[in-house]
């Protein structure tokens, strides 16, 4: 009998994200470095080999409340009219520890195809007896595809804020 820790396929059944141990975030190059924000209020489910997830923009967290408000304004996520971002995968492909989730990402009411790529671990049985799967996924999107066009020119003429944004999902999924 094989151990579940050696499972090499996509786990069957339904797995829901444990919100305490799951983080959805994004990073964007800004001037000489990057800045990051998190979206703590999320739901994610892996069911029948398909991954779906929702992030609520009202929960978006940054260190500075004014910058947080700017990101929630119509120039960026437009919280008032588009309170959620959503990902729905058509399929999840696992190859050893690596995984790919091709699907559709909806931000600000605009849906684009994306492929999230990363690693998968588990399933394993945790200290409370629950089955857990870990998924670390990321992708890079062009924010202007989602009607987020704000920028500020540097003296060089380049924009201070990159168009390419790295989206990250670090999910702990618990078997139901």
């Amino acid at each position: 009998m094989s151990s579940t820790a050696e499972q090499t396929g996509v786990p069957t059944g339904t797995w829901n994200a444990d919100p305490v141990h799951s983080t959805v975030s994004f990073e964007v190059p800004y001037a000489a470095n990057t800045f990051a924000a998190t979206v703590p209020d999320i739901e994610a489910t892996l069911a029948d080999g398909k991954l779906t997830g929702v992030g609520r923009i009202a929960s978006l967290k940054m260190k500075d409340e004014n910058m947080q408000a700017h990101l929630q304004s119509p120039e960026f996520f437009d919280l008032e009219r588009h309170p959620e971002v959503r990902f729905e995968s058509s399929k999840l492909e696992r190859d050893g520890d690596t995984v790919k989730a091709a699907g559709e990402l909806t931000i600000k009411g605009i849906t684009k195809p994306v492929t999230l790529a990363g690693t998968i671990s588990g399933p394993l049985v945790d200290h409370f007896g629950a089955n857990r799967v870990g998924l670390k996924l990321e992708t890079v999107v062009d924010r202007t595809d989602f009607d987020m066009n704000w920028n500020m020119p540097l003296p060089s003429g380049e924009g201070a804020l990159s168009n390419d944004v790295t989206l990250k999902a670090d999910l702990t999924l618990v078997g139901q």
């Binding site: 409340e65 004014n66 947080q68 408000a69 700017h70 304004s73 119509p74 120039e75 437009d78 008032e80 009219r81 704000w150």
Partner: protein
């Protein structure tokens, strides 16, 4: 729908104030314009005075913005940018930034100038400022150049093309303010 109209000029007989007057004349059914003309009473922004409540004229501006569904600006252009008095009023109105009266407020910007370009740079800068404040900036641009030729001696807008442009701009702002109208 209530729309607040603001001229960025203080000058008596200002073309932008006359443009606001024409805008009000073109209000379609269902739109009620209110003109805010107290720009001169706004003190110079000073963070030391930025307390609760703020100066009376500033609080009146904030209340006027909160009470309407959308805001229309007609701006002149000083040195390729927004007039100081108007920018100063917006700096006051933008405080505190995260919860200011313009947050999510649909806004439109038009402008008039005596020169040929119709304050296009000031309009662009004003849209940038409003966007940074969190306003919902409508895709409107109306540049009234050579403004002295567009109004008669009573200050009445006599250019029908510009009147068409005003009606179209109001329509775009209405659809920006109300997605249900845009979908209809």
């Amino acid at each position: 729908m209530k729309i607040l109209a603001i001229s960025g000029s203080l000058r008596h007989g200002s073309y932008n104030t006359l443009l606001v007057r024409a805008l009000v004349e073109e209000a379609p059914e269902g739109v009620e314009f209110e003109v805010w003309d107290d720009l001169k009473s706004i003190p110079a922004y000073d963070q030391d005075d930025d307390v609760v409540p703020g100066p009376e004229s500033v609080e009146a501006l904030r209340d006027a913005v909160r009470d309407v569904d959308a805001v229309f600006f007609a701006t002149p252009e000083y040195n390729s940018s927004v007039p100081g008095a108007l920018k100063n009023a917006l700096d006051w109105a933008s405080r505190p930034l995260a919860t200011n009266a313009f947050r999510n407020k649909p806004v439109a910007v038009i402008g008039a100038s005596a020169g040929m370009f119709g304050a296009v740079w000031a309009q662009a800068e004003l849209r940038k400022v409003l966007g940074a404040m969190g306003a919902r900036v409508a895709d409107v641009e109306l540049a009234v150049g050579h403004a002295m030729e567009k109004f008669d001696e009573d200050g009445h807008l006599v250019d029908e093309g510009i009147r068409d442009g005003l009606r179209e701009a109001i329509g775009v702002l209405m659809r920006t303010a109300s997605p249900e109208l845009a979908a209809a």
